[in-house]
């Protein structure tokens, strides 16, 4: 096991290098750079910018240099100084920006994850056990409903309803009076009052697929002979269920659990934009759209590394859960 772990860690090094290259490369894919994007968006607002200012910024941002030099400089900063570069768009160091938003992002992500699990597992198990019952159909339908509604539209509609019928201040995670206030119990309460909307919207999409996978896997297991045998032997139904079938049914799910966290971070980005949440998602999307390259690249790398680690974790979990998968 230890050897396996070491080998996997060793394998991660080339992966990480490749990731850093790709992360940087993705930003270079779209034509243009931060400056041209900025000039174009300024022009779209009827604003313009002097040529001399353009050149000054180009120099300041180092955009005139060849791409590989930019990349090497960036990597050098990261490895030797832990400096991820500056965000052009925010005029701030990348790390400062990301850190300032990470806490709330994790709060939302974890809350959503919890929501998904708490909702999906019982429903999934119930649907499998009571296959084709009214309850099964109902749960399935509700689960699919969340999946089938485009998230961003749902977010907008919920927001409109909150405004129109409940006269609520929309957008963000805090009421205006708490936004710049120091942390207090009132602020925490205010946060929770706002939190449910994004959590529900982000959660509904994930819930459906989890319910389905859980149900499908469990059904597979429940019809296996050992279950029949166990039932014939008079094992209580709940023990029968949780002793082995549920564990095995979790197997394919576990193989994806490692990806859940980064997906929640980046997957919630679109909803976060619509809801105007002060999380990392909108930061990332905007950075990409603006070609704010160090911010975007650092972000992509951060998320990628999270995934690589997650994959490793899920592989380990898989081995632990299903003894049939033996490590060579």
């Amino acid at each position: 096991m230890l050897q396996f772990l070491l080998r996997r860690l060793l394998f991660m090094i080339p992966t990480l290098i490749a990731i850093s290259i790709v992360a940087f490369g993705i930003i270079q894919l779209p034509p243009g750079d931060f400056l041209t994007t900025m000039v174009a968006s300024m022009a779209a607002q009827g604003e313009d910018m002097d040529q001399s200012a353009m050149r000054a910024l180009e120099e300041q941002y180092g955009l005139g240099q060849p791409v590989h030099i930019q990349y090497l400089k960036w990597m050098q900063g990261i490895i030797f100084r832990g400096d991820f570069g500056d965000s052009f768009g925010w005029n701030k160091p990348v790390s400062e920006l990301v850190w300032s938003r990470l806490a709330l992002t994790f709060v939302i992500s974890l809350a959503s994850l919890l929501f998904v699990w708490v909702v999906a597992f019982p429903i999934g198990i119930y649907s499998a056990v009571k296959q084709y019952s009214i309850g099964d159909y109902f749960a399935t339908f509700i689960g699919f409903l969340g999946l089938a509604t485009p998230n961003f539209l749902l977010a907008l509609i919920l927001m409109y309803i909150a405004f129109r019928f409940f006269n609520q201040s929309v957008g963000g995670l805090f009421s205006p009076e708490y936004q710049e206030a120091p942390w207090s119990w009132g602020k925490v309460a205010d946060l929770f009052a706002h939190l449910w909307v994004p959590v529900v919207i982000i959660g509904t999409a994930g819930t459906a697929s989890l319910i389905r996978i859980m149900r499908a896997n469990l059904l597979d297991e429940l019809r296996k002979p050992y279950v029949v045998t166990a039932r014939a032997k008079g094992l209580p139904e709940w023990r029968l269920l949780f002793k082995y079938p549920v564990r095995i049914a979790l197997n394919p799910f576990v193989s994806t659990v490692g990806w859940v966290l980064p997906t929640l971070v980046s997957g919630a980005a679109i909803v976060s934009i619509v809801l105007s949440l002060p999380t990392t998602g909108p930061l990332l999307i905007r950075a990409l759209l603006q070609q704010d390259m160090y911010l975007a690249a650092s972000f992509i790398m951060l998320l990628s590394i999270l995934t690589v680690i997650g994959t490793l974790v899920s592989d380990l979990l898989l081995a632990w859960l299903d003894p049939r998968i033996r490590m060579e």
Partner: protein
């Protein structure tokens, strides 16, 4: 186990319980697909899902004929026009008579709010006909026709069964045209990723060792790059001088490029646990080629799981397309997809004053639900253990 001759027996008989099952003679000689069909028929929700899916694909095929007009027709006097209700019968002195019509609009311009105010005018009657002659189009780009299933009998007065968008374009027509694009993107994308996923996942799980390691690293690598930036990067890199059709294929490939890895990992997990199973061993010992073993013995044994993943991934593709549109990186007019329509409706103005523009969201919902229920039924039907 019970099965030794994998070459001559139909694959479903690899099921350990097939041999001892008390089944009618017709069943015993039925092919796997026949058995699946029999089982599938029993699943009511799945049948409904299947029928709806079929209808949606039929719509996608006969788009030109079914839509009252083409989605690009702009009409100045009908911006943000609300839906008109279709009446089939008209009240005459002799009682109700079959004569489909809609009521026309009374329009006022409000210069301060910058809008036209529409009121449905009960007095005005616009005749509606079936199989009417209207705008000419090229069916499947092959021959010209001007026959439409339904439409206004008067060329000058359009009808809007689902209302109009901000430029007076007919929403119903746009949605029908969007069906073709959205449904085919989903299907094509899934077929591509399905193929890649099973092939690479299968190889990985079947052989294990170095091959497995290599493929796993590739998957891990692709998966580790966050989806949205990858989409955005790739979509933004599509050359803009491409014609809309090629952009469409480009986006399909981008979507499936990411989609296959999830399936591959699942398949691999199954292979890893299955390859030590006795029936696989027997098949191999019996001299079945590796490909045969994979496709005829191992794949069917976890077909159910693949179906479950697959049904969840067609809608995933459809939704991914809408997300790309939301980011302004998906398809753009003159190509119309549900994503394009939703993106156009993704604003407070539409939600507040023109809620009918959200109907494409319902189309997505119905399609996704239908596909899911269909897949659900298929899953159960394909389950080799479930008799």
């Amino acid at each position: 186990m019970a099965v030794t001759d994998a070459k001559t027996l139909p694959p479903e008989t690899v099921s350990p319980r097939a041999a001892d099952a008390e089944i009618e003679s017709s069943v015993s000689v039925a092919s796997q697909w026949q058995l699946m069909w029999w089982k599938f028929r029993k699943h009511r929700a799945a049948m409904i899902g299947g029928v709806v899916t079929l209808i949606i694909y039929v719509i996608a095929i006969f788009v030109e004929f079914l839509s009252p007009s083409s989605p690009g027709v702009i009409r100045a006097d009908y911006t943000w026009a609300p839906p008109q209700q279709l009446h089939f019968f008209r009240q005459t002195e002799n009682g109700m008579r079959w004569d489909p019509y809609v009521n026309g609009y009374k329009v006022e311009i409000d210069p301060e709010a910058l809008r036209r105010t529409f009121v449905i005018d009960e007095e005005q009657i616009v005749d509606v006909g079936f199989f009417v002659r209207g705008e000419t189009y090229k069916m499947w780009g092959l021959w010209e026709s001007d026959l439409h299933l339904i439409g206004s009998t008067d060329d000058e007065v359009p009808v809007y069964f689902l209302g109009a968008d901000r430029m007076g374009r007919d929403l119903l027509s746009s949605m029908i045209y969007g069906t073709r694009v959205s449904m085919s993107i989903g299907l094509l994308g899934v077929i591509l990723s399905f193929f890649l996923g099973i092939l690479l996942g299968g190889i990985s799980g079947f052989y294990g060792g170095t091959v497995d390691n290599l493929i796993q690293r590739i998957i891990e690598f692709i998966r580790s790059i966050p989806t949205i930036p990858l989409w955005m990067g790739l979509a933004a890199a599509l050359p803009t001088d491409w014609p809309p059709l090629r952009i469409y294929f480009g986006i399909t490939i981008i979507l499936s490029f990411i989609g296959w890895t999830g399936l591959a990992r699942v398949v691999r997990g199954r292979f890893l646990s299955l390859r030590t199973e006795d029936f696989v061993m027997s098949a191999r010992l019996d001299g079945a080629s590796e490909l045969t073993t994979i496709w005829r013995h191992m794949v069917p044994s976890f077909f159910s799981h693949i179906i479950a993943s697959l049904t969840l991934s067609i809608p995933g593709m459809i939704l991914a397309e809408t997300s790309l549109s939301f980011l302004g990186l998906g398809l753009r007019r003159p190509v119309v997809s549900w994503g394009v329509l939703l993106q156009e409706a993704q604003n407070i103005r539409s939600v507040a004053t023109a809620p009918w523009l959200l109907i494409p969201g319902l189309a997505v919902l119905v399609a996704v639900l239908a596909l899911n229920f269909l897949g659900d039924g298929l899953r159960d039907a394909a389950d080799p253990y479930n008799r």
